[in-house]
Symmetry: C2
Subunit: 503 residues, 2 copies
């Protein structure tokens, strides 16, 4: 009967939920090291860390209608015992706005904060597209001057260079939503006297421009008009602008000229009589001037009207860091690496809570994309140093082996005793290989009686196994015997590569 | 009409969900520094980092029945679009068991991993009790030998000492669930031939012993019998053991003797004829012997039968790190700081997935408790160095001020330009104070024309403000003028305290 019962036990599936993944060893260490270096730059710029919880109320995140039965579009949400909807944060900006509102009387303003951590999106997972991923943000809340935007752009450039992306391999592109709004006024799809009108069309226009990279000018133009059918046959509805209206928008998208001054002049023409548009052009001019004064010229920062950013909450300058070096894509074709960070000014996010406008601007780095870029540039990707493995020849003398590991650690050397079943010695050496151990320590009964240990240089051993002659192999220079008291010194010599001189 | 509409807008509440909190500045930095130092120790012991996602399937977490409509007792759970229940992890051990099962053919075994990160509990929040908190774990999976348990205990001791908890201020207490099981056999509430019987009673006994600290021997004894009514009038049902049975259990709880050998001898008597019990006593003997050989004597590690750990999944050795120094509690009474870490052996957790037994042992550090302990010992709690604040006297010369900050940063000095509204200069100095700025830089039109800047030593200024005479105050030694080109050097002198020599 006990057997029958056991049969019925349904075993859980050993897998994370769809769209989630695990990060092992070097992946965790490399990300941490990158974030540590970014934090150093942010710190030097006067930003302080803030860590909010992963969970927020849906109303604070503010993307959803309270009357939707299950407001989980795009986020992971659930109802708590009091009926309140909670959700995992989908970015680090919405929680910052909540904090800035909550602590508006306690924090020093401008409040300069950085934040690093996972965010969650309840989206369809795909290759390389996960439902939990890291962001790394820096924002200044309560800074009306576009000097704050200029500073964030300068800091972003410095961050990339600090991480090993040299000048010429990246560019910060800057634009301004006010200019876009001015152009939309000129195109007749934004009426300053009735800003709610044409909202749907403007949303489609924004998303269309944001896809310029992927769809090209023709694709964007189709989305400004009737719509676009993609390769898979799916149809995306367009903004149904007239040809004249679409011309004005496309003129904006393609307004970049040979230098910043000419681009600004062209934008001035495009916004026509729009006061908002003119203010936006003036802001861009100020930002470009400040950055130029700091030594960030057109080789690092440029005004590019095709950058609009997808998020709806931006109100002024927007910016994006793009890596310009080529990589090979999945299909073997060369392509530019692309965007790794972006941000902009969002003057109304805190207002949602307080009713008072609190100007703010900030940037978000896509941590996984930037890590991939650093790997592509060979800046990271070394493997983690494995531990010296003390093997177990005689399980009754476990105390001796633990003591050896203790001595090695005391000398600052990463070390461990093999703690699996010691019966099969070959498994112990296989384990040491898999851990990328630089050395294995061996002491059987005979060695113990003679007061010695064997030290096996696994780096040299691997090299010999690949290329050594039988004669060399027989000499076994990769393994040598030392008095027990000299264990630490002998391992130090192996780690320094000193025993590999002859190979 | 627009006004009417605005009235209807319901503003979101600027607060995190109940039981969650935000961590600012120094709090984030101190925790990070502590975790970095712990990670260094874990790394030296051969442990590799693993980061699993915050979200797991409820079936993988394995605490809940699949037929419960909403399985959110203790966890935050929700149903995904396919109807599968997902939840935020409630500890780092359950995800490790899932990973060890999922990657059993890919990972080197024994798999030594550490993990640090938040976990979530859907429990009633209380003072100092949050629904998101950090854990920091190290586990060895696939290690049948109790040498693995001994090593974790040694590492735990070394970790505490590395963080600044000296010997004498902590003790690692060790026990073994097998011994408790042996005692339960002797008391007639565990039948090896029918292990399912008396499960409820054993659960009550386990939880009762785990509360010894708080309830005292009398309270535990009440819970072994009919039950216990607490000060608030709430009644907790007891295990309804006979007086003789309760005697045996209490004999176990109070089995600690003057030294380990005598405690082990007493435990040997208590488990009587139980084979499991005898095996447990032998394991404790082995662990104590190994630790003693490594220099961890009774001043740091001791066998204490009153330690059982609350979690149901432990199968062998269990251990706990207790801080023995006194602190003052909320009511002003002195008390021992108490437990900051605990763990043990759980040989069946991976088996849930694979059907094969995978022996494992590990420890979890309560990060917030340990941080509080380090604060209580004065090991942390210094404030974060504030930035030098470059004030804005003339908003048309923002470029000049940004350049000053850039130069200071280039010299490795934390610096920023005041980016709020510059109209009220007093606000700028107040801001500098609130940021704990060591210095403020001032350059008005006059100074600019003369090619100089004012450097204000805010540390000295604060000191003068507290104690200076009018004469000293008039001399204003806390503020001095230097040529613009000497800005960085002057700030360096201020940071070194050189200008405060006369105060």
């Amino acid at each position: 009967m006990a057997k029958d019962k056991a049969k019925k036990v349904r075993r859980p599936r050993a897998a994370p939920p769809k769209g989630f993944r695990d990060y092992f060893g070097a992946e965790v260490i490399e990300r941490k090291e990158m974030l540590d270096r970014i934090a150093e730059v942010y710190h030097r710029y006067g930003f302080d860390p803030l860590e909010t919880s992963a969970v927020e109320t849906v109303e604070a995140l503010g993307k959803f209608l309270p009357d939707v039965d299950r407001p989980n579009e795009g986020v992971f949400a659930w109802q708590d015992e009091d009926g309140e909807w909670l959700a995992l944060r989908y970015d680090l900006t919405a929680p910052l706005a909540r904090v800035a509102a909550q602590y508006r009387n306690d924090l020093p303003f401008p409040y300069r904060r950085y934040a690093m951590g996972p965010v969650w999106r309840n989206e369809k997972p795909g290759p390389g597209r996960y439902r939990q991923f890291y962001q790394c943000d820096a924002d200044t809340v309560g800074a009306p001057s576009v000097a704050a935007d200029a500073e964030i752009c300068a800091m972003l450039a410095e961050t990339l260079e600090t991480l090993g992306i040299p000048r010429g391999d990246y560019v910060i592109r800057i634009n301004n939503r006010k200019v876009l709004n001015g152009v939309m006024e000129a195109a007749g799809i934004l009426d300053p006297a009735d800003p709610g009108r044409h909202g749907k069309e403007r949303g489609i226009v924004l998303r269309a421009i944001d896809k310029l990279d992927r769809l090209g000018a023709e694709g964007v133009r189709a989305l400004l008009g009737e719509g676009r059918r993609d390769a898979s046959g799916d149809f995306t509805e367009g903004a149904r602008l007239s040809a004249e209206q679409a011309d004005i928008i496309m003129g904006f998208v393609e307004a970049r000229r040979a230098d910043g001054a000419r681009t600004l002049a062209r934008l001035g023409e495009l916004v026509g009589a729009s006061a908002t548009g003119a203010a936006g052009v003036a802001e861009l001019e100020t930002i470009a001037g400040l950055l130029d004064g700091l030594g960030f010229g057109a080789d690092r920062v440029l005004i590019d009207p095709s950058v609009v950013r997808g998020l709806g909450y931006y109100t002024g300058p927007v910016y994006e860091a793009e890596l310009t070096f080529e990589i090979t894509d999945d299909k073997g074709r060369p392509r530019q690496f692309g965007s790794v960070a972006g941000g902009g000014r969002y003057d109304d996010l805190v207002k949602r809570f307080t009713g008072q406008e609190v100007p703010a601007t900030g940037v978000s780095i896509g941590v996984d994309r930037l890590l991939a870029a650093l790997r592509a540039k060979g800046r990271i990707g070394g493997s983690v140093e494995g531990p010296v493995v003390v093997t177990v020849m005689d399980r009754d003398r476990m105390g001796d082996y633990l003591e050896m590991a203790r001595e090695l650690r005391g000398a600052g050397i990463r070390a461990e005793v093999y703690l699996g079943n010691p019966k099969n010695f070959g498994n112990q050496l296989k384990y040491a290989d898999r851990r990328r151990a630089p050395a294995a320590i061996i002491q059987g009964g005979d060695e113990h009686a003679r007061g010695v240990v064997q030290v096996k240089d696994l780096v040299l051993g691997a090299r010999l196994a690949e290329s050594a002659s039988l004669e060399e192999w027989k000499q076994q220079p990769a393994q040598f015997e030392v008095p027990r008291a000299e264990l630490v010194d002998a391992v130090r010599r192996v780690l320094a590569g000193a025993t590999r001189g002859g190979a």
